[in-house]
Subunit: 501 residues, 2 copies
């Protein structure tokens, strides 16, 4: 190991430990902590965030980083070490210009505000959440402005935190294509979809049984319960302490069969990614997924491309019927597949079909751009939200819980995250196209043999963690960079076949 | 605020945050983390422990502490600040002489070993746990030797960590009295107790219903679910993040009604103590209970003095019958009270009746003394354990899970803790005696009105946190220091009445 890199190790380890502690507090806050804990605990989180920042942003690390970036030293590094140095430089770009006191206050704020969001959503009361959202946005604008360089816009700084390969220009082209292709297709499909009876999905489904079936599903996909746990939270999410401790959550509704199942499949996709990251890089700066775009590609690959396919359900649909014979005994597999792929304009992103999903993302993307271009205020948000839904989906939320309050991301300060879902969705289609050329994927699914799929993803994507970015991975796996055409083609093919258009 | 004390604040806050993080990892390890997480996570815990140590043990804090201990500065402090300075000095005594690298390795070790203990207990395999126990004991001996001063014995250093008021001399006198008084009484009582039919306790008790009833019990005692949560773990315990986040666990057995109920009452006693600590001192060095002895006095007051009394059950026994009518409809309240107070020689500390309980503690105390006097080795432990049970209880464990492996404490490195249970038990009797003079305690219980009891304990004990020690509290509440006679009298009176001796 290079001597300079060796000197860096204790700093990296310390920051890893503090970051892992913050992660655990986040998990605990969402799944366990009592309601009144937030205020005292946010002090703790604030201090840990401050220490995290100081563990990396200091003169010693700055000098070591500079040295490691210089050509002579850089040549001596292994590929993994080079990737760690690159990641450290990114962290510097993210944190160095932010005054520590502001960073700490911001972290205290988001430690409280995610809880305020839960309550506001439950109470359908946007006004209770608005002051927190205002503070979060003010901070994010300030932080983005500290960091912005050259011609970049503040919003691009935030986008880059989730996927460095996609800036406003790339996203505008991508989303214009989606709008042009998908909105007309959604209209056409949803007219035909009206005839599909999906009432079976909204009967009474015992929650204990749902939990059991979801656990089974997760294990079937490859979630390793020796390295992970499933819990409940208001908003499903995945989080990793390291590659031997990956955690997912779901929420369960008694009157909706699909909701928890597809949440669990989605989160299991994230979890399998993290569990497959190589032991040699876990607990380092490159020990997580490549990008949020890449991460969402894995969750949405499992959720949609696999999870909503007939081949996937063929070997296991019988088990679902056996779990709920009273509700499902007369629902054929074909009927069920049409049901889980029923496309129609809708209000809730996490419950959306594949065809309308990206429209939800486009709406959020456009709103976030407006926020960071100072074109709208926090007070305008519910109105703008509803207008966009009317414009693109043709429907308007009847309340803010189903509207502007539906997602948790802003309460954590995660502006710029949403596009990752759309990027991931498109990346998943691209990977799917090249996987089909390399293996009898449908046959594996019909045989209930998911291991070759998991191994392919592990060996070509997961194990590398963040040592490569999204486009580098796509180039290596598929021989070309991001190309949204695969996505458009995938959806067209799927829906034309399903709805006999 | 004194300027010197003000300068100390950031160090105290940082150590509080790191300590709270360690607490959360402990909670998570016992209740949530997946099995294979331990190894990677122990690295994180090791680093956080190291940082915790460094946050307090450094030249800046050393100088500030010294200054605050000098007369002139000391006079300027408030009582709370004085208590914090005293507590900081104690922390210095505990940590200063231990080499940081050893402290970190020890914390990594206990982060893994508690998990090894769970497995060894489950598998009834002492040999799997012995190497870990050996390492833990080696560390504890070394640490104690670093700290020992004057004529003190190494074991006394450890005892002092849990209650500064009780050294070997005090405990020897206390335990000799117990042995002399209790062993003959236990023999007499257990002969009579044989006629009490307790078979109802070992019928089938649905675990979901047990959890519901335990939750009810906990709330009835005053556990505030806005400030606390209940979870499950192999060994019941209580732990606090701060006074607005206090957590307890229990374990549930389908074939034992009492076990979870009295665990929950016990842990609720600890929790109520922590929840009642004043807002002004939570998250400071004096923000926890006064001592482990004092803490156990509160848990055992609720568990035994209140929880096993007829008055306590009078208003709520009907609810228990309603929960399990098939098992309890023919069991009268008087029968139930005799059942929950059935005394007999037994093997499991946490399941023991009040009369035999302290004998369990004496056995552990004597063994710990032998360990730290280098009189026995780790290999001797199962044999010595079994011999002691035969000597004092007249019975021998048939396996190590019911013997030397039964308690979790040693796997955490907590040698010197056990006497706290006996101290607490005796302290509880002393407080009970003076409470009865000050309020119609039995009447409150019969009315199902626990608030005046809780308020008395809050105002005279809980709110002070660790600003007073055990004897100071007893002096203020009862007008005298620790006096074990109350305990002996309480047990004699109770059992003479119950068994008509």
């Amino acid at each position: 190991m290079s001597k300079t890199f060796e000197k860096l190790q204790p700093y990296l380890e310390k920051s890893m430990a503090l970051q892992t502690a913050r992660t655990l507090f986040e998990w605990d806050d969402q799944t366990t902590a009592p309601f009144e804990a937030a205020e005292n605990t946010s002090k703790v989180v604030g201090i840990l965030s401050d220490e995290y920042m100081k563990s990396l942003i200091n003169d010693d690390v700055r000098k070591l980083l500079k040295k490691l970036q210089e050509e002579k030293e850089h040549k001596e590094l292994t590929d993994t070490e080079k990737a760690i140095v690159k990641e450290l430089a990114k962290t510097y770009e993210q944190l160095e210009s932010i005054p520590p006191a502001e960073y700490r206050t911001f972290n205290e704020l988001t430690s409280v505000s995610s809880r305020k969001w839960v309550k506001a959503k439950k109470d359908n009361n946007y006004e209770d959440f608005a002051p927190y959202l205002q503070k979060i946005i003010d901070f994010k604008k300030k932080f983005a402005r500290y960091r912005v360089k050259g011609n970049k816009k503040p919003y691009e700084v935030l986008l880059g935190d989730f996927d460095e390969c996609f800036m406003i220009e790339d996203l505008d082209i991508f989303f214009d294509k989606i709008k042009k292709e998908m909105i007309p297709l959604l209209k056409e499909v949803s007219k035909k979809a009206e005839t599909i009876d999906k009432s079976y999905n909204y009967l009474n489904y015992d929650i204990t049984k749902q939990k059991e079936f979801c656990k089974y599903l997760s294990g079937y996909l490859g979630f390793d319960f020796n390295k992970g746990v499933i819990a409940e939270s208001a908003h499903p999410f995945t989080l990793q302490m390291h590659n031997h401790d990956v955690r997912i959550t779901s929420h369960y509704y008694e009157d909706n069969l699909e909701s928890a199942m597809f949440s669990i499949i989605h989160e299991s996709g994230h979890a399998i990614y993290e569990m497959n990251i190589d032991d040699s890089i876990t607990q380092t700066l490159v020990g997580g997924g490549a990008s949020m775009g890449m991460h969402e590609s894995q969750s949405r690959f499992y959720e949609n491309i696999i999870g909503r396919s007939r081949d996937f359900w063929e070997p296991i649909y019988g088990k679902l019927i056996d779990t709920y014979p009273e509700n499902l005994k007369n629902i054929t597999l074909d009927h069920f597949i049409k049901g889980i792929n029923k496309a129609a304009p809708n209000l809730i992103r996490t419950e959306a079909d594949e065809l309308s999903y990206c429209i939800h993302i486009i709406i959020r993307y456009e709103i976030e751009k407006m926020i960071f271009n100072d074109e709208i205020t926090v007070d305008d948000l519910p109105k703008v939200w509803n207008q966009k839904y009317q414009e693109y989906m043709g429907i308007t939320p009847s309340n803010d819980s189903d509207g502007v309050l539906q997602d948790t991301h802003w309460s954590w300060g995660e502006f710029g995250y949403f596009p990752s879902y759309a990027i991931g969705t498109a990346v998943a289609s691209q990977i799917y196209a090249c996987m089909k050329e390399k293996m009898p994927l449908e046959q594996y699914l019909r045989e209930g043999n998911l291991m070759p799929i998991r191994e392919f993803l592990r060996d070509s994507i997961h194990k590398y963690g963040a040592t490569k970015n999204t486009n580098e991975i796509l180039q290596d796996v598929c021989g070309e960079k991001f190309n949204a055409d695969y996505y458009v083609n995938y959806l067209k093919e799927k829906y034309v076949a399903l709805y006999e258009l």
